[in-house]
Amino acid sequence: MTSFLDNIAVIGQNTQLALAGCTLFGGVAGAVGTFVLARRRALLADVAGHASLPGVCVAFLIGESLGIGGRTPWLLLAGAAISALLAAWCVPLLARLRGIGPDGAVAITLSFFFGLGTVLLSSVQSHASGSQGGLRSLLFGSAAATNRGDIIALATLAFAALMVLIALFKEFSALAFDEQHAQSLGLPVRTLDLVLMVLLVATVVSGMQVAGIVLVVALLVTPAAAARAFRGSIARVTAIGAFIGALSAAIGVILSLRFEELPTGSAMTLAATAIFFVTLLLPGRMMRGALT
């Protein structure tokens, strides 16, 4: 009887931790997403999500061969971040080739990295131990499949991204408002875009386990798009984006824990989309917003 009660308490604690971690991730995604949208990088978020798969698989294989276990949270996050950054770096390079264009560059990069991830995943799945089951849950996200270590790792990464965003908020705001204006102020536009790319990748990677690598882009794009329905300063729109993101993530986690079959990523995405379509119907939207 006592052990049963203990179990309940432990599950409850883990659930609270997962809920807190996911809410933090959702909030950061909504805030970072505001600038991702302003800089027209929505498709890059899609690429970064898909492109983390090969990195995760390699990290898993490295972890297994080092004997520290394939599902070491930090190792997986690092692997994901490296391959997502590589992909994000490939896109502008390819887009420069005549006849490819930004659209084609995104398509090529996405299919290369995700294709590679698919091949590696089939290799991982026939290779390894019982912990490989956790890799499947990466695809559509699962809050229930995370453990304490996963949540602490993802929350730390999301928190770090948030701190960088706050530290550079003024610079990012100038850039989001008007690139030429930012340039005339003497801001290093290229460096800021690079930092934004790193923030984007950090956010995507921190959310991949709970939102899933295919759907994590929705948490960056949809809440931020919904926030643009509200008028006001960039700070206000960013805060609203963060709030909608956190709300969507929290609703997603609660629903997915309540209905076992529902993947967390799907639930988060559908919650964010529902909020977005409500804001679409707001009267007088977007008329004098700072980010039109």
């Binding site: 080739l97 996405l110 299919s111 698919t118 089939s122 929705a218 993947p263």
Partner: protein, 305 residues
């Protein structure tokens, strides 16, 4: 007859050939239409449709029961066309860039599809969420009946893909002039009396259909590789529309064949028991070939200069 593993030739015919044929047919269907899509700079529209058809497929499946091709096609085609229409509406209403508008809509459709799939999958396992992403190429094989012709043993997916390939080529030939007009200069086409709206809708419908046919066999992500990569491989070498189609399809078929063989036989060469995912390997080769093709062009230019 019962011993399927009688000789390497027989195992090739039963296990390898159907997969190879399915992959090649999917490439022909998607690669042909992909040329028009790439010329219109709408590669990511194809990606969005590939993700968004999922709830339509599942809904068709649920309404009609097990694997009714017609119902699944209708459901998926509706979902594909709806995605584009809703994304256009969102873009007009919010002034978001088209990538962001598409991102909002296709993730929502895909999330809905995955949720439907998981709920349904708990009861009857037939469409697997993993297959949705990675395809089920490896599950195709020739069923040789004890008495009867081998044609009856050809899997349904191959017939579907063959029909899609024929329709894609037929559509491209029949409307070549009009499609070229709207691909290169939409405004000019309008003045010249070609109705872009009407043709664009038809194009969208045919593309959705080809994507659905390929989707089940090769998964939602390889579809984008099949659509965009062949045309982009041909881009630096083609001097006319006709040569672009020819180069893209020939190069695409060769790479698809190589990808399959690599996935099937590389593990044996390296003495591992792992079976590698063929759809993923094909996507890797197709996409890696694009920058290589551009590099080859630069090399040839330098040589001739």
């Amino acid at each position: 007859m019962n011993d399927l593993a009688a000789g390497p030739m027989r195992s090739f015919l039963v296990f390898d050939l159907p997969v190879l044929v399915a992959a090649l047919l999917a490439l022909i269907a998607c690669g042909t239409l992909g040329n028009w899509i790439v010329l219109r700079k709408e590669s990511m529209t194809g990606d969005a449709i590939a993700h968004a058809v999922l709830p339509g497929l599942v809904a068709g499946f649920l309404v009609a029961g097990r694997h009714s091709i017609i119902a699944m096609f209708v459901g998926a085609a509706i979902a594909g066309v709806a995605t584009i229409l809703i994304a256009n509406w969102v873009r007009r209403r919010t002034k978001l860039e088209s990538g962001a508008a598409l991102g909002i809509v296709f993730t929502a459709f895909f999330a809905l599809g995955v949720a439907l799939l998981e709920f349904e999958g708990a009861r009857q396992v037939d469409l697997d969420p993993g297959c949705v992403l990675f395809g089920a190429l490896e599950t195709l094989f020739l069923i040789v009946p004890a008495n009867g012709s081998w044609i009856e043993g050809i899997p349904r997916e191959i017939w579907t893909l063959a029909a899609a390939a024929v329709i894609a080529i037929g559509f491209s030939i029949a409307f070549a002039k009009e499609l070229a007009a709207i691909a290169f200069d939409r405004e000019h086409a309008q003045i010249a009396g070609v109705s872009p709206r009407w043709l664009e809708q038809l194009m969208l419908f045919v593309t959705s259909m080809a994507i659905v046919a390929s989707f089940e066999a090769v998964g939602s992500v390889l579809v984008i590789a099949l659509l965009a990569c062949p045309s982009l491989i041909a881009a630096p070498h083609a001097s006319s529309l006709r040569s672009r189609f020819t180069i893209s399809l020939v190069a695409g078929c060769v790479l698809t064949g190589c990808g399959y063989l690599l996935a099937a036989y590389a593990p044996a060469v390296f003495h591992t028991s792992t079976a590698l995912n063929a759809a993923g390997m094909i996507a890797v080769l197709l996409s890696a070939a694009v920058p290589l093709s551009f590099a080859l062009r630069a090399l040839l230019n330098r040589r001739s200069a």
